[in-house]
């Protein structure tokens, strides 16, 4: 029976076999030992038509409970302008491979160049690569990059205020790569500069990684960090939410040497954790240690402006075990997502997204405190996300929230409750959330 993705007719197959000099498909596998040929039926469902496939996924979709999202913790429900998925659906972008043949890949190469330009502008650093898998893996690569840049220093310090998944992924890479880690403790919800000073006395610190907006939603004040680190020839690496960099002090302005983070906040669907796109940027002097693909401007033989993958001699396909990283595929299409999103938003749109999210989050924060059921944990400046403590029973609270269609009050490992508002949250939704919570005690 024919199948829509296989164009071969029986006659085609006969002619092709004739040319290939075989009489059967079996003969094409005559070099495979008989015992390895799988003779049994595959334990898979029977082929479905498109109609059946749609129905199947619709049925699965109904097993999910749709929730209005009031959580952050590394994935944010920002608005995606219609134009972004529209552009991404163009098959010339979607179905292309890595732009090795530059002459017929100028589309991909140009948007990557634009992406690099946007990341350098947002971070205030000199250079950026063509994207990483996600924020946490970008952070792990930043760790290895910092270690390779700071000769003879062996220890990487991590702030305890980094997101849990960022810490977990870095710890995993460090364990296998053989990197010694240290932790800078938290004071009042932010990274403790005094604790950093004590660590630095050992003289073995290659870098500190610290979030700019931390796991509690607090915007960290990094005054003095770069100075302390640079005095010891150690690097400052910041983990950032790129959406916020249009309004908060940039890695460049804090004196950071490397910045990394997740572009998900640039309007990407939460999509249960992926695809997102990590980013990695640095000062010019660390360019050679920057992993992954990088696009540069040049000219073609007729002198026309053109773009090309460059500095490839750092990469795995040339350097093999000596490469700066093993990364090969990145998240190119999601880099296009981030690029089109930023193009549509512009500086003013990005500021507005932050302003609306800020205002809504602060309103929700105050409304929750006003119920008397929550307590402030840290009195520190925050943007769109914050944590509170409560004496309410967590299970009861979660049950009530979910049955009313909310995903909110995610419990952190410290036992705090995380809330987040983006520009998508309406006053009606915010009021409804608060009233679900107050009804818990009133009933």
């Amino acid at each position: 029976m024919a199948f829509p993705y296989f164009p071969h007719t029986d006659e085609d197959i006969r002619l092709m076999m004739e040319r290939a000099g075989v009489k059967s498909f079996d003969e094409l596998y005559s070099d495979v030992p008989e015992e390895f040929i799988y003779g049994k039926e595959y334990d898979l469902p029977s082929a479905m038509s498109e109609i059946q496939v749609r129905q199947y996924f619709e049925k699965l979709a109904q097993k999910n409970i749709p929730l209005t999202c009031f959580c952050g913790a590394g994935s944010y429900d920002h608005y995606a302008p219609s134009v972004v998925p529209y552009i991404l659906s163009r098959s010339e972008f979607l179905t292309a491979y890595t732009p090795y043949q530059a002459e017929i890949s100028q589309g991909t190469l140009r948007y990557i160049f634009e992406f690099q330009s946007i990341i350098t502008e947002l971070t205030g650093l000199d250079v950026a690569n063509a994207s990483m898998y996600d924020g946490p893996t970008a952070a792990a690569e930043a760790m290895m990059m910092a270690l390779a840049s700071a000769k003879k220093k062996t220890r990487i310090l991590l702030s305890r205020t980094l997101l849990p998944q960022v810490l977990s992924v870095i710890e995993t890479y460090a364990k296998y790569h053989g990197v010694q880690l240290g932790y800078v403790e938290t004071r009042d919800g932010v990274t403790d500069l005094e604790a950093l000073r004590i660590h630095l006395k050992a003289g073995d610190v290659a870098a500190l990684m610290v979030p700019q907006v931390n796991r509690y939603g607090i915007v960290e004040d990094l005054s003095g960090f770069a100075e302390e680190l640079h005095q010891q020839k150690a690097l400052l690496v910041t983990y950032c939410d790129p959406s916020t960099l249009a309004v908060i002090r940039t890695p460049g302005e804090w004196g950071a040497d490397i910045a990394c983070g997740d572009c998900q906040s640039l309007g990407m669907p939460m999509s249960f954790g992926g695809p997102y796109a990590g980013f990695l940027a640095c000062r010019q002097e660390y360019l050679r240690k920057l992993p992954g693909r990088i696009v540069g401007a040049t000219v073609d033989k007729d002198g026309k402006r053109a773009f090309v993958l460059t500095l490839q001699a750092r990469e795995q396909h040339i350097r093999r075990e000596k490469a700066t990283s093993n990364i090969c595929s990145n998240q190119s299409l999601m880099a296009l997502y981030a690029t089109v999103y930023v193009a549509v938003m512009g500086p003013e749109g990005l500021r507005k997204v932050n302003d609306i999210s800020y205002a809504s989050a602060h309103h929700l924060h105050d409304a929750l405190l006003a119920t008397g059921l929550f307590k402030e944990v840290f009195d520190k400046p925050f943007l769109k996300e914050f944590v509170l403590s409560t004496t309410l029973d967590y299970k009861t609270l979660q049950q009530a929230l979910v049955s009313n269609g909310f995903f909110a009050a995610l419990r952190t490992e410290e036992g705090y409750l995380d809330f987040c508002c983006t520009e998508k949250r309406t006053p009606e939704q915010i009021d409804a959330l608060v009233s679900v919570i107050t009804s818990l005690v009133n009933n």
Binding site: Y42, A47, T250, A323, N326, V342
Partner: protein, 494 residues
């Protein structure tokens, strides 16, 4: 394809706007943040209207070549057709609008997909269990090697620090081993292009963690001594790793799990039809044997006795006591959007059509190979699997190199094959046609390849100067590397 020379920054005009956002409902803005926490520098990003954006990126897309544009015989990349229903399923709001930390009971549909895709991959490969968390092939390799090391460590064996890699391997194999803290030992190929078992034997001792192989290898050759190789590696206490980059010809015919492999990764963006997206997002699930299941990374989907699906081992949650997992390799649970597309493809294929994937891709490759071997040099003339390698033109006197042939193909509307890889030959041309190309397409490609061989002999300058009809011609890569211009800011400063 038409040359278009703008960057989005060059369309910008102060005060233009492409966004549409609601008015704030509450007072307060980010200007209320303490001054030293606020950005001081101006934000030099494009200010453009929505029509500007659409036209700009449409023009950019017109300078790109994709699988939907034409034949893409890129060796080891499996550029098969990307079905359109995959895209529709991935865009369903019920999957797209899910926060990765939502409670398990609100995402039973999502977790069912993880479970069912994992079992389907097990059925196709013969591995016992899969993690879908790795983001790409190289990321899968790294994850698989972490599993390998965890297994040895769990037995109290810390001395296994070497991994054996054939000299024909993809560059990611040694690079992944290095990131995983393993030392790479190279094993030679025989003149027939497969692993030299005699060269392998002396390398095997109790410092070997395992061996990485692609089978068929990068020459498209099935490793005839795979059984002996696996037995040798196992008898020295090592594990066998299968690099799934070349899985396509085995789909429906041979299962890596039956050949003695303990760990493998799959590139969903190659074998399971998800689009390459100009270099990602991909997905690199890792499968293991029963004995290694506990070492798969967190978070994972577990089935409770009441057949309820639960996410286990999310970061920031208390660690469970019996956790032997290799660690956590992704922020959440991989590229779910890609996972959805691959599962859609598997449901369309079903157990009937899965049997045709490998044989049709193998037939296509052998068809091209036999049709061109009189004008291109075929160093290893045996039956190939899904791909094969020519070592340049048969006639080496023309001065036309593999690079020139690749560039000339672009003029004729084909993407170039993979070139100068594998490194075993000087003029490698690696061709992989896949099972979704018609005989007519293959014939057209064969005709053009033959025509280029004739041009090389009769009018070599045309080939040496190619491409002629693309939006840009050959690029000055040396200047690009010597004086890197990597952002718009750099560009306008020049």
């Amino acid at each position: 394809m038409k040359y278009y020379d703008k960057l989005i920054f060059e369309l910008s005009s102060e005060g233009r706007q492409g966004f549409s956002l609601p008015q704030p409902s509450y007072g307060g803005t980010t200007s209320d943040l303490p001054e030293n926490l606020r950005r001081a520098s101006s934000v030099s990003l494009p200010q453009v209207s929505e029509p500007d954006v659409v036209r700009h990126y449409t023009n950019l897309s017109n300078m790109n070549f994709g699988v939907d544009t034409g034949f893409y015989p890129l060796g080891s990349c499996t550029m098969k057709y990307n079905p359109k229903i995959n895209e529709e399923v991935a865009a369903m709001p019920a999957f797209k609008d899910i926060h990765p930390l939502q409670p398990s009971r609100t995402i039973q549909g999502v977790l069912t997909i993880y479970k069912e895709l994992s079992s389907s991959l097990s059925a196709i490969t013969g591995m016992s269990a899969f993690t879908l968390n790795p983001f790409a092939g190289a990321h899968g390799e790294l994850t698989g090697l972490m599993v390998m090391r965890s297994y040895h460590r769990s037995r109290g064996d810390f001395a296994r620090v070497k991994v054996i890699v054939p000299d024909s391997a993809h560059g990611t194999n040694p690079a992944s081993a290095a990131v995983c803290g393993l030392e790479v030992v190279q094993v030679k190929s025989t003149p027939q292009g497969t692993v030299d078992v005699e060269d392998l034997k002396p390398l095997l001792d109790d410092s070997v963690a395992g061996m990485m192989m692609t089978n068929p290898n990068t020459l498209g050759l099935f490793e005839p001594e795979i059984k002996e190789i696996a037995a040798l590696v196992h008898s020295c206490g090592g594990l066998m790793y299968y690099d799934g980059a070349n899985l396509n010809p085995l789909v429906g015919v041979v299962r890596p799990g039956d050949m003695g492999f303990d760990i493998m990764h799959i590139n969903l963006h190659k074998t399971f039809s998800t689009p390459h997206g100009g270099g990602g997002p991909g997905s690199g699930p890792v499968g293991v044997t029963k004995a290694l299941e506990a070492f798969l990374p967190n978070p994972k989907v577990v089935v409770t006795p009441e057949s309820y699906l639960k996410v286990y081992g999310r970061s920031g949650r208390p660690a469970e006591d019996d956790d032997m997992a290799a660690g956590q390799v992704s922020g959440f649970m991989g590229n779910f959007g890609v996972i959805l597309r691959a599962y859609t493809y598997i449901l369309m294929l079903g157990r009937e059509n899965v049997r045709k994937v490998g044989p049709l891709s193998t037939l296509s490759a052998n068809y091209i190979k036999e049709s061109l071997k009189d004008c291109y040099h075929l160093p290893i003339p045996s039956v190939c699997k899904h791909e094969f390698v020519f070592d340049g033109l048969e006639d080496k006197s023309t001065g036309v190199t593999t690079l020139d042939i690749a560039k000339r193909l672009l003029d004729y509307g084909f993407h170039a094959p993979t070139i100068y890889f594998p490194l075993l030959f000087h003029q490698s041309i690696m061709i992989e046609p896949t099972e979704t190309e018609s005989k007519e397409t293959l014939d057209a490609f064969i005709d053009v390849m033959r025509r280029i061989a004739v041009e090389a002999a009769e009018n070599p300058q045309t080939v040496l100067d190619a491409p002629h009809s693309t939006p840009v011609r050959r690029l000055d890569e040396t200047t690009a590397a010597r004086h890197p211009i990597l952002s718009y800011k750099n560009l306008i400063e020049e």
